[in-house]
Symmetry: C2
Subunit: 422 residues, 2 copies
């Protein structure tokens, strides 16, 4: 990518590049080369107040996103802002506001205000809400309504947007015809309904250059959505999915030429044995653009525990090249996540990211492990707390024997202590 | 293994073989061949009242164990019996009583009474408790004390016992000298202390035949313990670990010749990239004896979330050949698990087992996935509940929109519904 074409990104880099080198353990040259080659993106809209931008793309640290936002059953702004706090406390790297109920502009503004980390959205949700509220069917959507919404959100300060630009009529047809579970992306299903009813191509594909024009002045990064991600393990890796990936690659190249940063969104449901192969295939097809995945969920039958099924796939995914993990919470497939779900979701993804980075031999991950093991060897509970992904868990749950430095699980049976004097 | 040598096992088979074929989806011939070759074991002591025996060894279903039991900080029998109920409700396949405080004989008897699934123990814990209570050091243990304890527990009805017979003086020396975290197995550290202080070989190794003699009449299965399992990722796959595996293989062959069934216990902490290779190496070295693993934990820095780190390793482990997963709970490395920890631990392991079995194409796992996806396609919430690993989660957490069949996460934005009429 030619940085000269994106002055907002240039400004962002001139302000933050030095800090980024410290936080990522990379040189300025490595970061700049990553961004220029399109293998990394720097999320940050100059309109977002008090923003710390976030670098995405390995070997930068693997990042984690938390999805928040209202739904028709629960549209309380205050409770979403509480969830923002919980997600930030659990050290999420970004947040997405997926609200579909209430005053969406007000909710988005409040979230931008309270979140110093990059905030993403899926603009078609706001358009969909307006249509549903006005009792208009999705197929009556005018492309200009969608672009107007995107413009508004860019000006508001949103840092990245999911846009399902690669979902073609051909892909929608393939998914409709051949799948166990059709289309499970909400944005994707709206666009598919629009296309299949109107017999027209996806406006985000047709007018892609318009999108680039809107986003570039704000350095809004496109998260090129996977509207055809598999919703069942048995749909994984099918023609519909890869039809979209091929389109995403072409669009990503086009955007980079224009000076707009892009990430690629990835699957989805797929069995354990498919994860590494699928991730490698997608990374190769998309010329190593940052890959942002939901899951992958390695089983379909774990509602209530999808954060665990997602962590299994996420860890293997990171090892295979995933750059950015979107969390799944225990509420996935069931209901809107509450605060505890949000906390668990962020930590499950952080465990997955950490496990994947250890496997890749990343220095910061190995240093954390070494610190933990040194503390364990010394029965140094403060040291364990510091090294833990979630220090509060060690603080809260470590019940010490009254007269011992061992824990309540083993007490005098502590294996580490047993051999100390030999 | 020559079945003729183990009449308790023959009796068990004559009572239960038919039921096992139904529940495992295997033929009588397959089960008998599996047991004879030592690739499968059938857990069940005729003295255990109302027992449903459990077959372990793929392609039989992968099984899950829950560790329970008192500790010096919490030695309430009633609360352990509540945890037995929770573990059984979550569909654990076996339970281990790892109690180290209170009246251990009474606790064990009560657990056997209340648990119709196989119950395992680590007999050296009871010996260790007696020594600590009598203010005698571990090195004063007389081998006969250990064998007397094992005899008592076999007669009481215990179905399998962890015995660290393969932990040699050479292995203990290697682990003491070269490791980040030495020995982290409680039983292993007791035996190592005994050996290194007394400069004698492990009595469970020296008098292994005595152990066989005690166990055979009760068909007590030996779970050949991994006293030298790595306690830090950086210790994984070292000489100490494999020294023990080599011994376990020899002992396993000896036991099978004598007519005693054996499982091999496995690691432990190891990074993601090592799991498949390590598991395959151990399975090969031990001639495909059933492999029973704790984890593998793919990171060290996740206290509070070790059930997730363990599920990641467990899923990959099952795909690589693991037969039996010992759960890890969110309390691991911190304190004794409470009821909620037990529930989460069992489900995390069941998710891992299911994910691994899907990857292996096991029929029962694929059938569950197909049922779930069929229910999802039809927005059939009752069907989803039936297919879910934890039906109660769907029942409790699925908040339905009042006038819709969709859920509170998506409502009118339901992707599945969006395209139903096209």
């Amino acid at each position: 990518m030619d940085l000269q074409k994106n002055s907002a990104l240039q400004d962002l880099l001139s302000q933050h590049l030095k800090d980024l080198t410290t936080c990522e353990g990379l040189s300025e040259a490595e970061i700049l080369a990553g961004i220029k080659s399109g293998h990394m993106v720097l999320l940050g809209n100059p309109k977002h107040p008090n923003l710390s931008p976030c670098l995405i793309g390995q070997p930068a640290r693997v990042k984690v996103n938390a999805n928040l936002g209202t739904s028709p059953l629960s549209s309380c702004l205050e409770s979403e802002l509480e969830k923002v706090k919980v997600a930030l406390k659990a050290e999420t790297d970004t947040i997405m506001d997926l609200s579909t109920a209430g005053d969406l502009d007000k909710i988005r503004a409040a979230m931008l205000e309270s979140c110093p980390k990059p905030l993403g959205t899926v603009p078609i949700y706001a358009v969909g809400k307006n249509l549903i509220d006005a009792d208009r069917g999705i197929p009556t959507m005018q492309p200009d309504e969608l672009f107007a919404e995107i413009s508004k959100q860019c000006a508001q300060g949103v840092d990245f947007i999911t846009v399902h630009c690669g979902l073609s009529k051909r892909g929608a047809d393939l998914a409709k015809k051949n799948r166990t579970l059709g289309i499970v992306s909400r944005g994707g299903s709206m666009l598919a309904k629009w296309m299949l009813t109107n017999k027209q191509e996806n406006p985000l594909l047709t007018y892609f250059d318009k999108l680039l024009e809107i986003c570039r002045p704000y350095n809004v990064t496109l998260s090129l959505g996977d509207g055809l991600r598999p919703g069942a393990g048995s749909d994984a890796g099918d023609a519909a999915q890869f039809e979209e990936v091929l389109n995403l690659d072409l669009l990503c190249q086009r955007a980079q030429e224009y000076g707009v940063q892009c990430m690629i969104e990835g699957p989805g449901h797929m069995s354990l044995d498919k994860v590494a192969g699928q991730i490698q295939a997608i990374k190769l097809l998309t010329h190593k653009a940052p890959l942002y995945v939901l899951g992958p969920l390695v089983c379909d039958s774990s509602p209530g525990y999808d954060h665990i099924a997602g962590a299994i796939g996420g860890a293997i995914g990171v090892q295979a090249g995933v750059d950015f993990l979107c969390y799944l919470t225990p509420a996935e497939h069931l209901t809107l996540p509450d605060e505890e779900d949000v906390r668990l979701g962020v930590y499950a993804s952080r465990v997955a990211a950490h496990a994947g980075e250890i496997a890749l031999g990343r220095k910061h991950a190995l240093a954390r492990e070494a610190a933990m093991n040194c503390a364990r060897r010394n029965l140094d509970w403060e040291g364990m707390q510091k090294a833990a992904l979630d220090p509060s868990m060690v603080e809260k749950r470590h019940a010490v024997e009254k007269t011992e430095d061992t824990c309540a699980m083993c007490g005098k049976f502590c294996a580490v202590k047993m051999l100390k004097d030999i």
